[in-house]
Symmetry: C2
Subunit: 567 residues, 2 copies
């Protein structure tokens, strides 16, 4: 079943739901006319449908391999990568000052969604470059910017992120990699990094590693960490790849999914690197990259949800079984209909949240308004965790719709579930996202949260004549969420917040989903009204149980000791 890019959903969401009109009305993004948006969506859709999606199965069946120290990528990936870079999709949101197209992150988000649906293993490569470009734009010296960013945008080179070490995962501050000054402005980087996505490949001339390491005078913990650009080949005077740097891929991981994406253990053995941002200021630069990547990873989940949904829908329309009535296909069975409607309604909600997030980023970029910045920061962990959870759940439901065929690898349904699983883990586990939400993102006393809740209530207020039942349900859910938020903000012991962090994030996403579905029922056709009704009446009530969990706090939970658990 071929992938069909959901361009009409993107257009509808941008035009009616997430306020893209405000973005296009800014000077910064004045070029994003309706014609431009159409051209972008149409071109990206064409590439994804025709060139990228056909590579997905090959990546799974023929994993990237390490042969004599060289990474051999999956069949067709080099051509796929070339199509992506030639389309200009890597640097579409990079500033025109450094060779980018300067387009809104909202559009990049839509394109990343489509590329993720098509071939997640391959899409990870440009996603890493996009994040690196943004980090360099904000933190690197002009010399580094001018040398590296244009090559990353053209696709001649690509980028990676090197944070994790065996003893330093979620706890980045525990890292041991070292950087010694060479006396010529460069540094000598040593250490081992693990889980390095696209740590190497055989289709770019260079691989640019952004590596976190500690300078000799760096204090322990995150405040003593610096960021370095460490290219595979050291650029010569003309900016071309020169001498091989002292770094190598030690091994590739054997993973549950994403077989086409080489995940490397990297060894830096006195490799030459250059500081990006100030000494000991590495975490700030890395957070720029990670925030970008967190939105991007949430969108990966949504992209897989879309692909899994399309495959399940096609199967359910073709497969006849039982006294289904109507077409005779299994889609006529109420329970299959329930699964498909859930998949579609959840994917739609998660996609709308991701685009709201991107719009907030674009508005922050265009206006430097602190309110938009706060909104973007607040929505990022929600997009990441909810988008990836929905990706996992939807892919899992996709297997179920396929029945016995879902367990057979040839069908492809299982690959979606295997590939998407890691998205809830990398770029900060979803637990870390939730902790970020209830701690750092509520440090403003809940201001960003309450502003969102006000908008949700205004939306419900506006809908109460046309869609009284749906409006009332959304309004009530926002009230419950407000109470839970007030309770969380009042907890000074962070463990009281952390114990219910994951259910809180999910409940917030649930209510946001109700908000966007209600808006969709107000602005859309009969199909959108039906889907909104399904979501608001059947899925939104999940927030009640989730908020009950939140309100329990941490005492009972932390009273359960390791001994209790082992008994």
């Amino acid at each position: 079943m071929p992938y069909r890019a959901p361009t009409s959903d993107f257009r509808f969401l941008m035009d009616h739901i997430v306020g893209f009109g405000d973005v296009a009305a800014t000077d910064r993004f004045a070029e994003s006319t309706p014609d431009m948006v159409d051209a972008i969506l149409t071109e990206a859709a064409k590439m994804c449908e025709e060139i990228i999606a056909p590579l997905n199965r090959a990546g799974d069946l023929h994993p990237a391999k390490l042969e004599n120290g060289v990474v051999r990528t999956s069949p067709g990936f080099a051509e796929g990568y070339r199509a992506i870079t030639e389309g200009g999709w890597v640097g579409m949101s990079a500033s025109p000052d450094v060779g980018g197209m300067g387009l809104p992150m909202t559009l990049t988000t839509a394109v990343n969604d489509m590329m993720s649906s098509s071939c997640l293993s391959l899409q990870l490569n440009p996603l890493m470059s996009q994040g690196q470009i943004e980090a360099l734009e904000h933190h690197a010296s002009d010399a580094i910017k001018e040398l590296y960013i244009p090559k990353m945008i053209s696709g001649e080179w690509c980028g990676t992120m090197n944070l994790t070490e065996p003893q330093a995962g979620s706890d980045v501050g525990a890292l041991r990699s070292k950087a010694e000054p060479n006396g010529d402005g460069s540094f000598s980087i040593s250490g081992q990094k693990i889980y390095i996505t696209w740590g190497d490949n055989d289709f770019t001339q260079n691989v640019c590693h952004l590596v976190l390491a500690r300078l000799p005078d760096g204090v322990p913990g995150t405040k003593g960490i610096s960021l370095f650009m460490v290219p595979k080949f050291i650029p010569d005077a003309d900016g071309n790849p020169g001498k091989r740097n002292s770094l190598k891929v030690v091994s590739l991981e054997h993973k549950l999914g994403l077989h086409g994406s080489p995940t490397a253990v990297m060894e830096y053995d006195g490799a030459t690197g250059w500081l990006v941002g100030p000494a000991h200021g590495g975490m700030a630069a890395m957070f720029t990259m990670m925030n970008n990547a967190r939105l991007g990873v949430g969108v990966q989940g949504i992209g897989i949800a879309e692909a899994a949904y399309q495959a399940a829908l096609t199967y359910a329309q073709d497969r006849t079984q039982g006294k289904a009535g109507g077409s005779g296909a299994i889609i006529e069975h109420a329970d299959v209909r329930r699964m498909l409607a859930t998949m579609r309604a959840e994917t739609y909600a998660a996609r709308a949240i991701a685009l709201m997030n991107a719009v907030a980023i674009d508005m922050a970029t265009a206006t430097s308004d602190a309110g938009w910045q706060a909104r973007a920061a607040f929505l990022t962990p929600i997009t990441k965790a909810f988008g990836t959870d929905i990706g996992i759940e939807t892919a899992n439901t996709g297997i179920q719709v396929h029945g016995g065929m879902g367990f057979i690898e040839e069908t492809g349904a299982a690959q979606f579930a295997r590939d998407v699983r890691v998205t809830a883990i990398y770029e900060g586990t979803n637990g870390i996202q939730a902790m970020d939400l209830v701690a750092r993102k509520l440090m403003d006393g809940g201001e960003a949260a309450f502003r969102l809740l006000e908008e949700i209530e205004q939306g419900a207020e506006a809908a109460k004549t046309t869609q009284p039942e749906l409006a009332e349900a959304v309004w009530q859910s926002a009230e419950s969420l407000r109470e839970a938020t007030e309770w969380l903000v009042a907890q000074t012991d962070l463990n009281q917040r952390f114990a219910g962090a994951v259910p809180y994030l999910r409940a917030f996403a649930r209510v946001l989903g109700g908000h966007v579905h209600l808006a969709s029922a107000m602005a859309g056709d009969a199909s959108r009204v039906k889907l909104a009704t399904f979501y608001i009446k059947r899925l939104l009530p999940e927030h009640i149980g989730l908020l009950a969990h939140v309100r329990e706090g941490g005492d009972d939970l932390l009273a359960i000791t390791a001994d209790d658990l082992a008994s």
Copy 2:
């Protein structure tokens, strides 16, 4: 991390929660003294820990293979199978009349749970034989019983179930396999069957296939289907494997998990078979086998949940990361604690429900009481669907607890998730289970459901002085479930029931979980009180959202057309 059989949970549940005392008090099961129960649990635990669990990874890495028409099984599986059969675990619940041990299904359920935790791929083989033995006991001629059952119990031979054909999955009535009388009392069976678990092996002398096929005068649909015993080798006059039958394994499936279990496409080409049960009465016989297997498959989910939980707990106690406090291990983080407590509380609830189900079967066997039969029939789809859903969710959470390591196959966390996934699909998808629950199992006007609800309310009543908060929560949940059940029973249009069937089944399991946890808080030590508190306050509230979904009925859902979904 080695598997440790949770024998103390089994003992506690049997002694205090699920009423095993009543089973042991019957004449039929008078041998099930506390000493006998101890001996069974201890022996089975030892075998699972020492012999079976070490085979699990080898089964994944070295899948069963078809070579020149012969199935080659995974390394060590032959020895593992021998240990299971020599321990007497295949026929432990078979009647002593046919060479079985005549022990309660409750004990078989505990042993199957342990074997599933240890190596699900291998355990599937004796599970199929157990189901076949029960079907033969109830439906086969004396000649077939005497010839086949003792060999199946000894492990010399093993059994399979052959229902599915490419066009006939959930819709068994659509099958096309044919049976022609040979005139000598035997039949000639022809057709293709798919998804045949353990369709062949290289460690038993014979493989006994129970095959559904249609006689020449069989009407279309399920009422024209008959069941046949079709052995791989036709027994000679002495009952030893003789002439090769006209059947073969065409191919083995390439599956998401359970690599050690060969899933075959079988071709019957005029193979010799014998009728089991009356002509055109195949479905009744097959249902005996499937009901047994449905309990067994639910228990597979629980077994994997246990194994995934143990692995995650060990990892969380060993892995240090972040400012965790206490031991410094990640188990000190509130969110990790939440995940582990959820895994343990859910596994415990699902296991208690499975054992309640087994006790009902045993009481029905011992007393022929219609009330116990109705309870067993009511609980079977709940055990199957909830047990397997919890297996999938818990394995998924296990991956999350492992962080990045969870995505790496060497860890083993991902294998649990891959292996368990099909349990929600085979032996009737979980959607089919839920439809069975709200249609056939409520055909008594809800009597079996209401009797269970009365017991839940009585339990809450009894607990209200000692555990007032928990008792109140459980009582309220039972009331809500009662209302939803009354509403369902009143719906004559089955689609009104089917639309919310899956959420209803889940809500029923949730409330049953509250019931058993409350009983556990009343009878158990401080650890059990803490776990019950966690479950009842944080997980039980999920039923509210689920029942909201149920009460919506089918209209809005079925109004969503295929066109709406595709738009």
